[in-house]
Amino acid sequence: MDLTTVTSKRLLFLGLLFLVFILLAFLPLYGSVYTVILVTAIFMYIILTVSWVIFSGPTGYISLAPAAFFGVGIYTSAVLGKVLPLPIVICIGALASFCLALLVGALTLRLRGIYFSIFTFGLVLLIQQLLLWYEVRITHTRGRFVIVVNNTTIYYVMLGILVILLLAAYLIRRSKYGLALQSIGEDEEAAAHIGINVTVLKTIIFAVSAIFTGAAGAIMATRWTYIDPYIAFNPLFSFLPVLMAIFGGMGQFYGPIIGAAIFAYLEEVLLTRFPYYYMLIFGIILVVAILYLPDGLVGLVQKWRKGGSARQHADT
């Protein structure tokens, strides 16, 4: 492959990307309300998944904290939504998540493997229980109402967060920090020995990835209108991003995006068609994906393409 075909391929790819962006940017003008809401939900899952992958993908630390960051965003929106304008609320939600992640990251530096996973999961449940106790005992209320924002605004905010996230994720992946994260995932001690400040890098990237989860939570809360600690800190939001990333495949940048998009659409279809069997089917897909798709959909496609090209060479 010579240089010109590479550049023309890249131009074609960029053109396609631009086209998709234009189509999505004007969706509320030609799409139905249902489509807008559906695509917003898909965006939300992509944001959760991609921001999870920024940290956990290369390092191999399975974080189960996304529900905590998401919940912090949701509660920020519920508490401040009535007094402050939307953009500031979203920024505060993102910042609060960032600070929480910074704290958690600094605390869990010593934990590796499964201990890190269960610690982060414990965090979600701890915040949920403390909030519940606070609401029942101190404020004597259970749950809150969130100020309503129209669907188009939610859609554009979600799209905006998504675009910034994808840029950030791409830049981090391509930078020297991305490589450093990769080497931490392969051998943390060796990474420390070649001069990477392992603890600082892990903490910062973990915190950066939480920004987007928090922002998504802050805007999503306005669609749900009513929230309580069980809704906001639902452990499912910790497991879903992991599942979607595995389902899509973390080997490529677009893997988690595809995984999340397909999964979010699947959820919608399953929920409307088989409401009673939805979670059952969800569980079966998870088990099958872990068993038979260790590299996700992307891995499957690559295997198939490699198989195809190998056959081509054999023919000639």
Partner: protein
């Protein structure tokens, strides 16, 4: 005041016995078979609902159900390990990767088992009364079923401990816990032993579910709550240490009972705080290596 303290302590021990039994099951599954089984609570739920169903439909004495619940959960656990987890174990590049993927697979199992139970038994809260007459323990009154549950939990725990220490199979299990690969080289059928461990873990969960159903109301979605408590106990006792889990169960039971006495709404939060502090200060737990 003394009676009050005694009251709290005994309530803690009664709760702790159940926690100890559940935690020993998970300890076996994680310590030997290396599966941090998030669906552990679902086996508890299966034990509880099978017992409830047998009692309501056929009037089977809950203690007789031990002979039914145990084998049922054992076989499910054993088969799951032989098919699903063995495949994952052989295809994983490292033990760390296996721990991660098996944890996620068990999360999938959680949804499958829970939703099958929801479809079969429905979502309403169920209960029955069995041995509910009060018994006077040092001035405090407790229902007889809770004392029976504690006695059985301790009994099952001791029997299992003797099995591990005294029998040939127990020795094989301990060898596999130390180093599965070397144990395999020494002639231990490692796939069989690991599957048995997973099955035994499920069996203990089934027994615990049965004992829980005698004392508390049960429902199809009860599993996750017990799974989380189990994980806390197992970490408290030291991941993989079976005596540690046994002791950890009683410690957490006592803590739970004390916090419930002081501030009922905070008992779960107290568990999580202890759990996270423990992870930060001494992640290997009280009896971990």
């Amino acid at each position: 005041m003394v009676v009050k303290i005694l009251d709290v302590v005994i309530a803690g021990l009664l709760l702790g016995g159940l926690y100890a039994l559940i935690a020993m099951g998970l300890s076996l599954q994680y310590g030997v078979a290396r599966v941090l089984n998030i669906s552990h609570g679902e086996f508890i739920m299966l034990g509880a609902l099978i017992t409830w169903f047998l009692y309501k439909a056929f009037g089977v004495n809950p203690l007789v159900s031990l002979a039914i619940c145990g084998p049922v959960t054992f076989i499910i656990g054993f088969l799951l390990y032989r098919t699903l987890f063995t495949r994952l174990r052989t295809s994983s590049v490292s033990i760390g990767a296996y721990e991660g993927s098996s944890m996620l697979a068990s999360f999938g199992l959680l949804f499958i088992i829970q939703n099958v139970a929801l479809i079969v038994w429905g979502s309403e809260i169920k209960g029955y009364t069995y041995l509910a007459f009060p018994v006077n323990v040092g001035g405090a009154l407790f229902a007889a079923n809770r004392l029976v549950a504690l006695a059985f939990a301790v009994f099952i725990g001791l029997v299992f401990y003797l099995f591990l220490v005294r029998t040939r199979l127990g020795k094989a299990i301990r060898a596999a816990a130390q180093d599965a690969a070397t144990a395999g080289l020494m002639g231990v059928n490692i796939n069989q032993v690991l599957a048995l461990c997973f099955g035994f873990g499920a069996l203990m969960a089934g027994f615990a579910g049965l004992l829980i159903s005698m004392c508390y109301p049960v429902h199809a979605a009860m599993g996750l709550e017990y799974t989380i408590i189990t994980i806390i106990v197992v970490v408290l006792g030291g991941l993989g240490s079976i005596p540690g889990s046994f002791i950890g169960g009683f410690i957490l039971g006592l803590i739970g009972s004390i916090v419930t006495y002081l501030e009922p709404g905070l008992s779960l939060a107290a568990y999580y705080v202890i759990f996270m502090l423990l992870l930060l200060v001494k992640p290997t737990g009280i009896l971990g290596k």
